[in-house]
Symmetry: C2
Subunit: 163 residues, 2 copies
DNA sequence: CGACAAAGTGTTATAGAATAACATAACTTC
DNA sequence: GAAGTTATGTTATTCTATAACACTTTGTCG
């Protein structure tokens, strides 16, 4: 049911990603008693249009292109805020951009590999990594509320393509 | 010679932090053949005024307050860019803010504990953590160019103060 | 049903963060 | 000291994000 993140940078049937994400989103909202309104669903679809994080203003333009009415920043930011709260999307701090969450139902840390060439953000989770994080925090007597791990570099796909 | 990061959130002789950081900065620049001009030194001092990350515009206001002439954004951004290049400061992506690096001479990853209450950013490094990061990247065939680990939460000092 | 509250969206304006482009000054290096 | 490089000043603009208020839709409860 969860979307395998490792395929993000490879050729794949992305429409399948979208439909799976959509299903999951509806399930999550139903469970949380949250309303996935048409506008929110539209923003969610746009975010999921690719595995490349999208800026709020890019999303705004896409929204404006789809509907005839003009769209102001708060419209998209409120939708994004809702989706973030529901854990349906993530914010990439290094890019000021947003990307769909590939496993919204499970507990998830905010861990990303971001390719500088193709722009794809690959979400990952790794138990030993999380253990190290928790150990380090404990060492400092620090309690974690939010965590952001972002690794910028070059994905396998792009490196092989450049040979 | 290196400033112990764990004390950042505690009472300490901060003037000592500043003078140590200043020494290190001069050494690093000398070694790199980079010019730590008066402006850059001034910005460096301001960043080091505390262990709380500072936004570029806050720094700009502080610069303006110190000198009579008005200061425009590029002035501070260029100084910050230089200091980042020399590895003398770090950028906290979650906050759009900058903080002094506590061990500029050694190889350093961009790892921070950030207290939401007192605003202090504690830089840390941990071998097992870095190993996990590298292992994970290797698993995905991903080569890392830049890394950002930011943990938001509550530091020991603040938690104890709230009891 | 109808009134009320709550949640969502529209709209305007503004704040905050960062950079582009060009001009001027200062510092090398020969 | 003339030429080239590096640093800074200056103006304008772009990109990112939120505040404040109006209006509409949805949900609830008597």
């Amino acid at each position: 049911m969860t979307i395998p993140t490792s395929i993000a940078s490879q050729q794949h049937d992305h429409s399948h990603c979208i439909s799976t994400a959509m299903e999951q989103a509806k399930a999550v909202c139903a469970q949380n008693g949250a309303r996935l309104t048409p506008l929110r669903e539209q923003v969610f679809r746009l975010v999921w249009n690719s595995h490349q994080p999208l800026g709020a203003y890019a999303l705004m333009d896409m929204l404006a292109a789809e509907s005839t009415r003009r769209v102001a920043p708060p419209t998209v930011y409120r939708a994004l805020e809702f989706l973030l709260e529901q854990g349906l999307i993530h914010r990439i701090n290094m890019l000021n951009a947003f990307v769909g969450c590939t496993h919204p139902s499970s507990e998830h840390a905010n861990n990303f590999l971001i390719c500088e060439h193709c722009g794809v953000a690959i979400e990952f989770s790794a138990d030993p990594l999380q253990t190290s994080i928790n150990d380090t925090a404990a060492e400092f007597g620090f309690s974690i509320n939010a965590q952001s791990i972002e690794l910028m570099g070059c994905c396998q796909h792009c490196r092989e393509a450049e040979l």
